[in-house]
Amino acid sequence: MFYLKLILKNVFRAKLRTGLTLAGLVIAVMAFGLLQTVVDAWFAGANASSNARMITRNAISLVFPMPAYYRERIKAIPAVKSVSHSQWFGGIYKEPKNFFPQFAVDHENYFEMFPEFLFKPEELLAFKRDRQGAVVGRKLADQFGWKVGDTVPIRGTIFPGEWQFTIRAIYDGRDEVALTRQFYFHWDYINEWLKKRFPRRADQIGVFNIEVSDPTRTAEVARAIDAEFKNSLAETLTETEKAFQLGFVAQMETIVLAIRVVSFVVIFIIMAVVANTMAMTARERIVEYATLKALGFSPRFVAGLVFGEAMMLSLIGAGLGILLTFPVAAGFADSPAGAIFAAFKVNGMTVWMQWACAIVVGLVAALVPGWRSARIRIVEGLRHVG
């Protein structure tokens, strides 16, 4: 108790220095948490994928389409339960900064494959009946204040022109990782337009979405589909939805690695700051430590004071930093920048890592000053002029 009291009083002795060091710790721990959450969010889409869903795309690249008639041939392959399709639209709503993913989908059965999207049945029916109808996720609707019946103009880039959509349904996510920042509309809508304007681009599909009857047979199904279109004009590459998502992440692997590295660099920097604080603190208290040793306190007690102070400083900073991470992450998730992530949520592992980093910072920062304080010769310490 006495020990704790002495440490606590020492921590807040130089208020300005402690305040500035704490501020640095809070920001560093929070930044570390946010950067780790960015990395987690990158993988969230893949983690939320279903084991029973697969994606077939053009083997050369995603940007090359496949003929729409592939659908029936895929459907005929054993263990394929249903087939749907989708097409990346890539339009701009008012300004490029308002980015959100837009897909033209098979309105008849696409959403049957995604039980994690929760609809009001009458709204989904209304969407199916309206060729210009659109479906939007709850977060996206909330972000732009959209409601059912609103008209949303989107400027096409891949499909040039001003497109008008009427929101017919707003869906919720079954859980927090379900994607609710998406915008879906009828593939038929753009396909009819293509038939008139660019007939050679009509009846082409971006990706086929496949649901298998038995998730253990995905490898076999993938092989069968790709074999079906071997040596055709558009050879295919079929993989699980998770592998497909991870493929996107892999393309950004260097960025993810950079984010991870930066998050630990932040911790390393704050470690140097706290170590500097502790070194200054210990140097200023040489006479006190020598006095304590003269009175009969052991070197271990003196080292414990330095370690205790560094740990308390780090843990207070970490606690405040962790507390701050949640609202800042929530704010980021609700911002337009957060729209690129399926889910941006601080998870338990990140919080544990924040605590662990704080403990390492405290221990490392106190190592040299603690050792020096414990080793100080009493006679020299008592003569020290701070």
């Binding site: 002495l6 009083k9 006190e288 006095t291 009175l295 306190f297 006679v379 008592l382």
Partner: protein, 227 residues
Amino acid sequence: MTALVEIKHLAKSYKRGEQVVPVLHDITLDIARGDFISLMGPSGSGKSTLLNLIAGIDKPDRGVLRVDGVDITELGEGELADWRASHIGFIFQFYNLMPVLSAFENVELPLQLTNLSRAERRARVALTLGMVGLADRMDHYPNELSGGQQQRVAIARAIVTDPTILVCDEPTGDLDRHSAADVLDMLKRLNADLGKTIIMVTHDAHAAEAARRMVHLEKGELSGGEG
């Protein structure tokens, strides 16, 4: 009086770079139980070094230094720390109080090393602060006390464990005349009334007169004394 401190052929030198600087040469001195001696001498004469050796915070190069029958030169660092905690009370020139602790907590500090219960510690601290006339200042922090009051807190801290010897390094060196007289008077009373053995280093001839005996050091050697 029996000799509490027996010093025989004690020598101490310090290293300054490659150079060895001798500080004490062949000191032989007995200090009786209940004595109050002042160590005097010019700067660099070795009086503080001798005090530090007797207090067990420094080690001699050679010689015998026995306190209450224990050859403290043979004790290891941990044993020496325990020995100091129970046998030595320190009074420093600049008080050396913990600034973050109140007067009460500063006096309680050495008792943290004992097995006394919290209630026993509190009772003993209150009694000791009463003895030095600071019963009404126990919740004050060092920066809220005058120099004289701080030195009285330091005296209370030094005697609260009932040590065998009080070692005082220029205890009045940072005090005004009035406060210095108070402190010296207190030391005399501790010696006369409680029989405390006191060894005091001082430059001040007036302060030295408070002791029963003066020991002079000159260039690391005893140069005589008076009773």
